[in-house]
């Protein structure tokens, strides 16, 4: 069998510090992410966009720990005070279970009630959006994600899921903005780097950006060999850059 020309030519690509383009209008506060070369810690200086957060429900208090978790892991935590009845809490858990088993219609029914009862809580909106997206109800899904993002701007899950949704619909620029919004708030949310990289790679023909995000991603996920292949292929296509 012949080898496809998309096979990686080099196993390791040089990692460079990239400056991630900020897409004006997506996120109010620009985030400059400084990637450390190779392995190790992501050194990131992050401005938390609290000041520009859309009006959140009073009971929601967003708290982010930039960069690194207290236990030293790479990540972050978002916490909020969810004012919700016990019944709704139980219902929420029931919905989570249903979603995990792919029982979307029932889950949607429950979550709609919960969002009606407790409109100030973020998680139910996100899950509802995901449920709609998976049942191919794009518009409903988008609406739910937007509500979640009003409560927690740049919420990585909402942004990422919404970015996926936009990409499937061919709304590539919106998808890009959505990912970048997530990364502005949570630069070390790596699925967004991966997804933004793919978007730039396959759909937007922005190979440089694709390269940058793949690299950030692969630094955080060194075991993901496929991405390394992608980087190699990309480098080849970019003329060995």
């Amino acid at each position: 069998m012949r080898q496809r020309n998309d096979a990686p030519q080099t196993e390791k690509a040089d990692m460079k510090i990239l400056k991630v383009k900020h897409i004006a209008g997506c996120v109010a506060a620009a985030a400059i992410i400084i990637m450390a070369n190779g392995c190790g810690t992501t050194k990131s200086v992050q401005k938390v966009p609290e000041a520009t957060a859309p009006v959140a429900a009073p009971e929601t208090v967003k708290e982010t720990l930039p960069g690194r978790l207290p236990d030293g892991r790479d990540g972050f935590i978002i916490t909020e005070t969810a004012k919700m009845s016990a019944a709704d809490r139980r219902a929420f858990q029931e919905a989570v279970t249903l979603l995990n088993t792919g029982t979307y219609a029932q889950a949607i029914e429950i979550l709609e009630k919960i969002t009606a009862n407790a409109p100030g809580v973020t998680a139910p909106y996100i899950n509802l959006g995901i449920a709609y997206a998976r049942t191919d109800k794009g518009e409903a899904a988008e609406a739910q994600f937007k509500k979640a993002l009003e409560l927690v701007p740049g919420h990585p899950v909402a942004s990422n899921e919404c970015g996926l949704l936009y990409r499937k619909k061919g709304r590539f620029d919106e998808a890009r903005a959505m990912y970048e919004q997530a990364l502005a708030a949570y630069p070390n949310y790596y699925p967004a780097h991966r997804n933004l990289g793919i978007l730039c790679d396959l759909y937007l023909n922005d190979l440089e950006s694709a390269m940058a995000h793949y690299k950030v991603y692969t630094q955080a996920m060194p075991k993901d060999d496929k991405v390394k292949l992608w980087i190699a292929d990309l480098q080849a296509r970019m003329g060995g850059k």
Partner: protein, 1154 residues
């Protein structure tokens, strides 16, 4: 009464004048005179005639024997006394006493009171003189006198005879005196002795100063004795010897009478004249004048006679006599006699003109009117009417402003009437009315208040004239006279009313005038006059009748009114009618008048007033005739309708209908009116958006007036209202009812539309669809037909009646090839239905039609038609593509390859043609399929049946299996089965001979494979290239499923470049917190940390959604199976709170291929 006067007992009503000269001496004798008849005492100037009515008795009781004693005294004196100065006196007295004793005549120097003549009495002894019935103070009692009996000429002769005849002297006066009956000589002894005594005295004492008295007494004595000639001789001597005697006038008068009686007129004339000469101082003056007149008259010297009579009247006037006095009957009669003889005279002189001439020549007199009047009446008595009228006329003409003239004028009319001269009567009446109408000049000299008689006459005349002409108008001798009569009658009625506007008779006259005008068809004027009669006078008997007649006249006027005046006249009708009803509400015609007025008000569009009038009639005249009440209700209903009081109008029409006789022709129209009133209520409710009420009203039309014309609209509008209310079922009932009731109505198409709509809204889609089909058949409007068919088809579709929809769509495309876009859209729907039905040939045929029609549409081509055609063409191409794919390269490969290549060319051509549509979706699809053609062909080559060179024959042994045999020959089991036509069970029977293909040897085969690969590879490369070109469409803003599909294909062919699944975040399991953490190569200082370090937080983990398509299977024939994920399990973990983390999944392109 003067007791000294002697009296004469006369017989009343004697046909002849009585002249009785009785000589009585009354010295020292008191006579008691008892008046037993007559009327008053005779005065100093009394006449003999004036005594005729008196009966005087001389009572002798107390003086019996007195005369004798006196005579005895005188006799003794003469006998005893020598002749002396007293002797003649004694003789005379003795003689007088002797006479007195015999005849009782008073003398003694007293003025003798005797009847001088019988002539004055004459006129009254005959037929009484008629007085003119001309009214006035003195004539008033004569009004009722019997009609005058005409006198014949002999009556005049009689008058003349009586008026002029004197009583014969003694020889004819045979009547014995009282106490002398028996006629013994002794009775005459006294007078004879007296005569003897007188003669003795005269002869013995010729110079006795009272000899004139002696002669006078002696003549009397002769006269008493009937020795007239001797008496006359004595008077002759007295006249001659004593012309200045105080007895001269009486004596002359006696003489004159004597001569007159004996027709010795010249002697009589002289005698009378001598008295006249004495003048009014003479007691006999008037009598003499009178008789002198007669004397001339007898000699036919009428002119002379008239002068004497007039002189007598002048004298009367001069002494203050009033001709109109009535107290002294005797005097009046005497005057009347005078006038009568004057009349006779003028009659003889030529009638009225002679009177005129007379007075012109001799000066006018204040009493001329009496002269004319008497002459006129004289003629009238003789039935000489023309002369009578001429007499009056002569006076009136000359004295128009004389007080009596109106009376005379009226008398003229009477005379003409009596004479039977209607024309003259009429002329006279007109003349009268003109002359004495209240505006005539006459009244400048008189105050009407002072002449009630004239006013009364005027009224009578005016009334007569008006009546006459009115009657003539009604029954003219000649039709041509009618206008003239009308004019005259009207004139005199007006004259009356102008002169007497407020008299008790005025309303009646006015009424008659109005009648006249009405009869003459002068309706407007008649109406005015009737109204005046009805309303401008105090209430009278005919007030209400006039009021009604006014209305009637106005109405007649209306009938003849011109177009221009009609409106005004109608207003008059109404005004008059309302006034009539107001003033005479109890008149029997009040209700009908009011009803008619109400009708008129309605036609005049005075709806408020018409309504009020109608209502009034209904309330005020409930017992009126049914027709009238019905009319009132009708006016009320119509007016209410016009005033938009539709509820009231409805009530009114219902009443009218209830009162209408069965079978009345107007019923139909009234039912329509009723319906309209109800209908309008519906409209009002509609306007107020009270659709429930509107529907109720409209439906009520059907119940209350099912036969009305407007019912159609009402039913329709009811349905519309029900539709507004969304009462679909009720609306459907009404509308379908409409269709049954009015199967040919022009609104039917609209109804059908509504039914269709109602069914549709009610969810009865199939029924709605059928209605829309019906709309198409009922309409001539192409656009409506089109819409209807499309709607019907859509409804069938909604009702899941695909057959119905298909039929209707096909009908549409059959009817309407244009416009192309709709036509193609419809064909597209047909195609969709066919596709759903799995009627593939028909489906494809429909698509071919779409493509062909679009291609031929020219300028009518639109983006949409292009799209439909493009999509259709795509399906057709896909169909060809399936055919192409179905061709397997089997032995003989050459043949099948040729077939496949042919199809491939066709396919490439087809898909390339799709690019002409220049539609992103179609282009992407075409590109995708072109790529697929190449990759498929490449794969087909690789999978083509390998060449077979020889066959072994193997006889199946019991217990052998096919796989065992294949293994034994190292042959492919499938090929063995195929070569031997084994069925799927691949059962083999012992003893059967199998053909065992013997392939190439390994070396040959390898060479064959290499050669094959060389052939196939460029097609695959080409396919990949085309897929990649599809991705370039993204850069042109095109992204769709075909591009995604190409991407998925490429992910298989070039996974390192294209198999790049995205990563999902996954479900959020916690309400309070979201934790994202990854394990990553820890820097030396943080090596201790790891995933799941936080016990309470589940470490996030990520898993792929599913396995990626095995890169090694990229060339496998498993085309069409979608790979689900293309990522390897990632190491990061993502977890949420205490909840178990969901496995994140990667999004991968949905790589499905057909």
């Amino acid at each position: 009464m003067n007791p000294m006067h002697s009296t004469i007992d006369e017989k009343r009503c004697s046909p002849e004048p009585v002249l009785r000269l009785t000589w009585l001496r009354v010295a020292a004798i008191v006579l008691l005179i008892m008046v037993t008849s007559g009327c008053g005492a005779m005065g100093e100037k009394g006449t003999i005639g004036g005594l005729r009515h008196r009966t005087i008795k001389i009572e002798k009781a107390e003086i019996e024997g007195g005369l004798d004693k006196a005579m005895e005294s005188y006799r003794r004196f003469l006998e005893e006394t020598p002749d002396s100065a007293l002797s003649p006196e004694a003789i005379r007295r003795l003689a007088d006493l002797k006479i007195e004793k015999e005849y009782g005549t008073l003398t003694d120097g007293q003025r003798p009171v005797r009847s001088a003549t019988a002539g004055l009495e004459a006129p009254n002894t005959g037929t009484p003189v008629k007085t003119m019935p001309i009214g006035g103070a003195e004539g008033s009692e004569d009004k009722n006198r019997p009609a005058p009996a005409p006198l014949k000429d002999k009556a005049d002769a009689e008058f003349e005879k009586q008026a002029t005849r004197s009583r014969p002297l003694p020889e004819t006066a045979a009547e014995p005196l009282p106490g002398t009956e028996g006629g013994d000589d002794l009775a005459k002894a006294g007078p004879l002795e007296a005569i003897e005594l007188y003669n003795r005295l005269l002869s013995k004492y010729p110079l006795y100063d009272r000899n004139d008295q002696v002669l006078y007494q002696m003549s009397r004595a002769y006269e008493e004795l009937g020795r007239i000639d001797e008496a006359m001789a004595v008077t002759e001597r007295l006249v001659r010897e004593y012309p200045n005697s105080r007895y001269i006038d009486e004596v002359q008068f006696r003489r004159a009478e004597f001569f007159f009686t004996r027709r010795k007129y010249l002697d009589a004339e002289d005698a009378y004249k001598s008295i006249v000469r004495i003048g009014p101082g003479s007691y006999y003056y008037e009598l003499a004048l009178y008789k002198l007149g007669w004397t001339f008259y007898k000699q036919e010297l009428y002119e002379e006679a008239q002068h004497r009579f007039i002189a007598l009247l002048d004298h009367k006037v001069s002494i203050g006599y009033d001709f109109d006095q009535t107290e002294d009957e005797q005097e009046r009669k005497r005057t009347a006699d005078t006038f009568r003889v004057i009349s006779l005279g003028f009659s003889n002189l030529g009638g009225a003109q002679s009177v005129v001439d007379f007075f012109e020549q001799n000066g006018s007199r204040s009493y001329e009117n009496n002269v004319y009047q008497n002459l006129a009446e004289f003629y009238f008595d003789k039935r000489r009417y023309a002369d009578a009228a001429a007499s009056y006329t002569a006076f009136v003409e000359r004295n128009p402003f004389h007080k009596k003239s109106p009376n005379f004028h009226m008398r003229i009319i009477e005379i003409h009437t009596a004479g039977g001269f209607p024309t003259l009567v009429l002329e006279a009446k007109k003349s009268f009315a003109s002359t004495y109408g209240l505006h005539a000049e006459y009244w400048r000299y008189f105050d009407p208040k002072d002449r009630p008689d004239v006013i009364s006459l005027l009224k009578t005349n005016l009334t007569d004239l008006a009546n006459h002409y009115h009657a003539s108008y009604q029954k003219p001798r000649k039709p041509a006279d009618k206008p003239g009569h009308f004019k005259e009658a009207l004139h005199w009625y007006r004259e009356f009313l102008v002169s007497f506007p407020k008299e008790p008779e005025s309303p009646g006259i006015n009424f008659q005038m109005a009648d006249l005008l009405l009869q003459n068809k002068s309706y407007a004027q008649a109406a005015v006059e009737y109204e005046k009669t009805a309303y401008q006078y105090p209430d009278h008997a005919k007030s209400s009748e006039a009021g009604y007649a006014a209305v009637y006249s106005h109405r007649k006027h209306l009938e003849t009114a011109t177009k221009e005046t009609k409106e005004a006249v109608k207003r008059d009708v109404v005004r008059s009618s309302m006034a009539f009803v107001e003033k005479f509400p109890k008149h029997e015609k009040a209700a009908i008048v009011l009803g008619a007025a109400a009708e008129d008000l309605y036609t005049m569009q005075e709806f408020e007033k018409a309504l009020a009038a109608g209502t009034r009639l209904i309330e005020q005249y409930p017992g009126a005739e049914k027709d009238i009440v019905r009319t009132a209700w009708l006016v009320r209903a119509h007016s209410s309708y016009e005033l938009q009081h539709y509820g009231e109008a409805e009530k009114g029409y219902a009443q009218v209908l209830a009162l209408l006789p069965a079978g009345d022709k107007s019923r139909e129209g009234l039912v329509d009116n009723l319906a309209a009133a109800i209908y309008k209520q519906g409209e009002e409710a509609n306007a107020a958006q009270d659709y429930q009420a509107a529907a109720d009203h409209f439906l009520r039309v059907g119940r209350m007036a099912p036969t009305s014309k407007i019912r159609v609209n009402a039913e329709y509008d009811a349905a519309v209202a029900l539709i507004q209310l969304k009462e679909w079922k009720r609306a459907a009932v009404v509308l379908t009812g409409f269709r049954k009731m009015f199967p040919k109505h022009e609104l039917l198409p609209e109804v059908t539309k509504k039914i269709a709509y109602v069914y549709k809204e009610d969810g009865q889609l199939s029924m709605a669809a059928r209605e829309f089909e019906r709309i198409e058949t009922e309409s001539g409007d192409e656009s409506i037909r089109k819409d209807a068919l499309l709607t019907a088809a859509e409804l069938y579709e909604q009702a899941k009646d695909q057959a119905g929809a298909l039929t209707v769509y096909r009908r549409y495309v059959g009817y309407f090839p244009k416009p192309v876009d709709v036509h193609l859209e419809t064909r597209n729907k047909i195609a969709n239905i066919l596709k759903a039905k799995n009627d593939r040939p028909a489906y494809l045929e429909e698509l071919r039609q779409i493509v062909a029609i679009d291609a031929a549409a020219g300028k009518e081509r639109t983006p949409r038609t292009r799209y439909l055609a493009g999509m259709g063409a795509l399906v057709l191409a896909e169909n060809d593509f399936a055919d192409f794919k179905a061709v397997r390269l089997v032995r003989p490969v050459k043949r099948s390859l040729k077939k496949k290549q042919k199809l491939m060319k066709k396919n490439i051509r087809s898909f390339n043609k799709l690019l002409d549509y220049e539609m992103g979706e179609v282009t992407a699809a075409a590109t995708f399929y072109l790529a697929e053609i190449y990759t498929h062909f490449s794969k087909a080559l690789m999978n083509s049946e390998r060449p077979v060179l020889t066959f072994d024959v193997h006889k199946v042994q019991p217990g052998e299996t096919l796989s065992g045999i294949a293994k034994q020959y190292e042959a492919d089991i499938g090929r063995i089965a195929r070569e031997n036509n084994l069925n799927k069970s691949r059962v083999i029977v012992a003893g059967k001979k199998l053909k065992i293909p013997r392939g190439l040897n390994p070396l040959e085969l390898e060479q064959y494979e290499l050669a094959l690969e060389e052939q196939a590879y460029p097609f695959e490369e080409k396919g990949i290239e085309v897929h990649e070109s599809n991705l370039k469409l993204i850069g042109q803003g095109v992204y769709n499923e075909w591009i995604d599909k190409s991407l998925q294909k490429l992910a298989v062919f070039m996974p390192a470049r294209y198999a790049k699944p995205e990563e999902r975040s996954g479900i959020v399991a916690s309400l309070e917190s979201y934790l994202y953490a990854i394990e990553r190569p820890a820097p030396p200082e943080a090596a201790a940390s790891g995933p799941g370090a936080e016990g309470s937080t589940a470490a996030p983990s990520e898993e792929p959604d599913g396995p990626l398509e095995n890169p090694g299977a990229a060339n496998s024939p498993q085309v069409g199976k979608a790979p689900e994920t293309a990522s390897e399990p990632p190491s990061p973990v993502a977890g949420v709170g205490q909840n178990p983390p969901e496995k994140p999944k990667e999004e991968v392109p949905n790589a499905t291929a057909q």
